[in-house]
C-alpha cells in the first residue's frame, strides 16, 4: 500500500507522542497542576541558546546508544547490555588514555578505539553465550550489566583511581591532546554566542558521522541486507546463505563497539576523566530512543533530541514546584505507546495490502477462466 511506509515511520510515533502528552497532562491535572503552564515554562526555558546547546549535548550520547541498540533490533537481537558496556568502556578508556600523550588527532582516535574494543568485547560475551550455549541475550546482557557495575567499581576503587588524596574520586586527567575541542567556534560563524560555560561538545560531529555510517551499513550494504533479512525472516535468511551464528556474533560486536562510544562525548569533551558520578542510565534510555525512532537514524536523532530537550527543560520545573519526574513518566509512556501504535498501524497497512492482493487474485482467476 502506497504511503504505508510513511504511515508507520512518521505517523505512528507522532500519534504516540500525542497520546503521551495527553496522559502526562492528565497526570499533572490529577496532582493539581495546570499542564499548559508547565509546558509553557518548559518551552521558554528549553529554547534558550544555552538550553538548546545542552539539549544537543544530552542528545548525542542517547543517539549513539540508540544506534547501538538499533543495529541489534534490526535483526531481532535485544542488546540491553549497552549500559554496562559503555560504563566499562569509559572507565578503561579514561584510565589508559591518561597514561600517554601523543599528537591530538591520534590521541583522541586511540581513546575512541580503546572504548570501542572494550565495549565490543563486553557485549561480545553475550553474543558468544548465545551462539555457543543458546543463552537468550536479554538475560545475559542484563546480567552482564550488573557484573559490569561490580567490575568497574572494583577496578575504579582499587586500581584506576588517581591517588590525589583529594575529595574528587576520579581517574587521572587525560592530557589535553586527548581532548575533543568544543564546537562553539563553529557556532560563532553563525553568530551564535552562548554564555560562558555553555559548550557544544565536539563529539557531535563524530555522532553525525556514526549516524551516516549506520544508514549506509544497514540499508545499502550486503551485510545490512543480511542483517535485515535475519530480522524479518530468520529461516529465509538462513536458506539464502546467511550464517546465523556469525551474524549474531558480528552484530553483537558492532553493537558493543558503538556502545563503547556512548560515554565518549562526556569523557573527551567535558569531564576528561572518569568520575564516580559519571552519567548512568544512557544505555536504557537509548533503548527507548531506538524504539521511538523505529531503529532508523533520522527517527532516532529526533527521538534523542526530544529526550534531550525534555531532560533539559524539565530543570525549570523544580523552580516552579512541578515534579520534574513527569518527564520520566512521559518517556516511559511514549515508549509503550509507540510500540502499540506501531503494531496497530502496521496491521492496518498489512490488511490493506493483503486485501488488495486477494482482490487481484480474484480478477486474475476470473480472467483465466473466461
Amino acid at each position: 500500500m502506497r504511503g504505508g511506509k510513511f504511515l508507520t515511520s512518521v505517523v505512528a510515533p507522532v500519534i504516540a507522542l500525542a497520546i503521551s502528552f495527553l496522559i502526562a497532562s492528565v497526570v499533572l491535572r490529577l496532582v493539581d497542576i495546570d499542564p499548559l503552564t508547565a509546558y509553557q515554562e518548559m518551552w521558554t526555558f528549553g529554547t534558550t541558546t544555552e538550553s538548546l546547546i545542552s539539549m544537543v549535548n544530552r542528545a548525542v550520547p542517547l543517539f549513539v546508544s540508540a544506534l547501538a541498540v538499533g543495529i541489534g533490533f534490526k535483526m531481532g537481537l535485544f542488546n540491553i547490555g549497552v549500559e554496562g558496556a559503555y560504563l566499562l568502556a569509559a572507565l578503561v578508556a579514561a584510565y589508559i588514555g591518561a597514561l600517554y600523550s601523543i599528537p591530538a588527532v591520534l590521541h583522541v582516535l586511540s581513546i575512541l578505539l580503546i572504548a570501542m574494543v572494550v565495549g565490543a568485547a563486553w557485549n561480545g560475551i553475550a553474543g558468544w553465550l548465545k551462539v555457543k550455549r543458546g543463552v537468550h541475550e536479554v538475560i545475559s546482557t542484563i546480567m552482564l550489566n550488573f557484573i559490569a557495575f561490580s567490575l568497574s567499581a572494583y577496578l575504579f576503587l582499587n586500581y584506576f583511581q588517581e591517588d590525589t588524596g583529594g575529595l574528587i574520586v576520579a581517574t587521572a586527567l587525560i592530557p589535553e591532546t586527548g581532548w575533543l575541542p568544543s564546537f562553539n567556534p563553529v557556532l560563532g560563524w553563525f553568530g551564535i554566542e552562548p554564555r560562558v560555560g555553555s559548550e557544544l561538545h565536539g563529539f557531535l560531529l563524530i555522532a553525525i558521522v556514526l549516524g551516516v555510517l549506520y544508514h549506509y551499513l544497514v540499508n545499502r550494504s550486503r551485510f545490512g541486507y543480511d542483517l535485515r533479512a535475519s530480522g524479518i525472516n530468520a529461516p529465509a535468511a538462513r536458506a539464502s546463505g546467511v550464517n546465523p551464528k556469525r551474524m549474531i556474533m558480528t552484530t553483537m560486536l558492532i553493537s558493543g563497539g558503538i556502545a563503547g562510544l556512548v560515554g565518549m562525548s562526556t569523557l573527551l569533551g567535558f569531564s576528561h576523566r572518569y568520575v564516580q558520578d559519571f552519567p548512568t542510565g544512557l544505555g536504557f534510555t537509548g533503548i527507548a530512543v531506538a524504539l521511538l525512532g523505529r531503529n532508523n537514524p533520522v527517527g532516532m536523532a529526533f527521538g534523542a533530541l526530544l529526550f534531550g530537550f525534555l531532560d533539559r527543560s524539565s530543570l525549570i520545573l523544580d523552580l516552579k514546584d512541578v515534579p520534574r519526574e513527569i518527564v520520566t513518566i512521559f518517556q516511559g509512556v511514549v515508549v509503550l505507546a509507540v510500540v502499540i501504535v506501531y503494531e496497530v498501524i502496521s496491521r492496518l497497512v498489512q490488511r490493506q495490502t493483503v486485501a488488495a492482493a486477494a482482490k487481484a487474485t480474484v480478477e486474475e482467476t476470473e480472467a483465466v477462466a473466461s
Partner: protein, 508 residues
Amino acid sequence: MAQESAIHLSGVTKRYPGVVANKDVEFDVGVGEVHAVVGENGAGKSTLMKIIYGMVRPDEGIIRIRGKEVHFRSPKDAIDAGIGMVHQHFMLADNFTVLENIILGSEPMNGVQIDFQTASDRIKELGEKYGLRLDPGTRVETLSVGERQRVEIIKVLYRGAQILILDEPTAVLVPQEVDDLFDSIRELKAEGETVIFISHKLDEVLTIADSITVMRAGETVGTTTPDQIDAGQLAEMMIGSELPTPETRTSTVQDEVVLEVVELSLQSEDDRDLLSDISFTIHKGEIVGIAGVEGNGQAPLVDSLVGLEATATGEVHLAGEDVTNDEAKDRRAAGIGLIPEDRQRQGLLLPSPLWENAALGHQNGPPYAKGPWIDKKGARAQTEEIIRRFAVKAPGPDVPATALSGGNQQKLVVGREVMANPKVLIAAQPTRGIDIGAQAAVWEELKAARQAGMGVLLISADLDELIGLSDTIHVLFEGELVAELDPAEVTPEILGSHMTGAKTEAES
C-alpha cells in the same frame, strides 16, 4: 418420505474483502451418510466447513442441524450440537500427551481436579470401538502422521460428535494408511455417525462416498452419487475446463553429471537417523523426482543439499566440484538454486519490496550486488525482467511481497531462481497451495529449465506431478532411498507401497 437431514444449508453466503468465498450455497447431508465435498483450491470448501463448525459466521443463509435452525457463535456451539471437525493441519500440542490433547476443553472432573482415570478409560473404549487404538499416555510429538490423525478423530468422538467433518484427511497418508482410514470410516457409518469428507482426490472419493457435492468458485455445482459419475466427469465439474496434465516428451537428459550425492547421512540432535546413506546423481537436462510421505526426510535432504546442516556426512559434488564442506552461502553461489517447500517461511521476506525478495539467495553478487554494496538499480531491473518473463501479476518491483497472491509469490520465487541460472535447481513442493494457472506456469518453467540443460531435483507429494515431470523417480522412506523407478512404467499403487516400505518388506 424424506428423512430429516443431518445437515442442511440453504442460501449460505460469505464474503471477504475482495472475494466471495461462498455464494448462495445449497448443501444437504443425510443422517448416517458418507458425504464427500470436492473442489479445487479456493473453491470454498474450507470456508463452508468453517461455517458449519462455527469458526466463521455466514453473511446470509440458514443452517439446520437435524431439522433445527442453528446460529453458531463459536466452535463450542457446534461441538455442543454434535459436530466434530478433524482439520487438515492437525491441531495437536506436541508437548501434551494424547489424553491431554483429547480432553482439552471438555475435561472430566473429580471435584476440582481432572479425573484422569475416567478419561483414559473412555479413550481406550473409543479406540476399541472404532479401530483407532491409542495409548493415552504417549506424547503426541512421538506419534506418526497416521496416529496423529487417529488422535484427532478420537478427539471429536470423545465429545459425542455425531457428525464428523474430515478436511483433506488423506493428504498426508499413503495408500495403505488410506485403506485403514476408510475401514474406520465404514465402522463409524455402521455405528450411525454421519461423515463429511472433503477432498480433491477423486478416486478415493468415488471409493468411499455415498454422495458427492461438487463446489467451484464458491458455489455448489451439483450433487451426485458414485454410480452416476466417473472421475473424469467429476473433474470436469470441478474445474469447468480441461485438466492440465503433466505430459511425457522426448528425453533431454545429457551424459554430464551435474549433481552427485554420495552416502549423505544426517542425524538429529537426539541421535535419530534423519538421512541414511543417500546416494543419487542428477544429469544435465534431467528432472529427478523424490517421492515420499512428508516427514520421511525430505526437509533434512533439502537442508543438507543447500548446506544448512553442518553435521551431515557424505559427499556432495556439484558439476565435478566437491562442495561437501561449503556452507550455504558458497553452495548457492556455486550454483544450487532453491524453491523452498514453504515459500513464506524459507523463500520470501514478506514485508520487503519485490526487488529485495528477488535478491534473496543471490545477494552476494551481480546483478543484485556490486562489491560490498547492494545494487538497487540492478536489482530492480532484474526484478522487472522476472515479472515480465514469468508473468508475475504485480504493479512493479517496489511493492511488498505480501501484496502478491500465493501463486504470484511462487512465480516470483521460481523466476528468481531460474534466472540465476543454477546448475541444479531444487524444487520442493513447487506447486503446493497455488491456483491452477500458476501451477501450469511453474510446470512449464521447470520443463523449460530442463530443456536449457539445468538439472532439477523435484521433491513432491503430488504423485501425478512427480510421474508427469520426472525422468527418474527415487522413493524416500525413513531417510533412505528405497527404490529407483521409471516414471513411464510406475503407477500410484507401486509408488505408494514403496513409500510405506511395504514393498521392501515383501521383497526381503
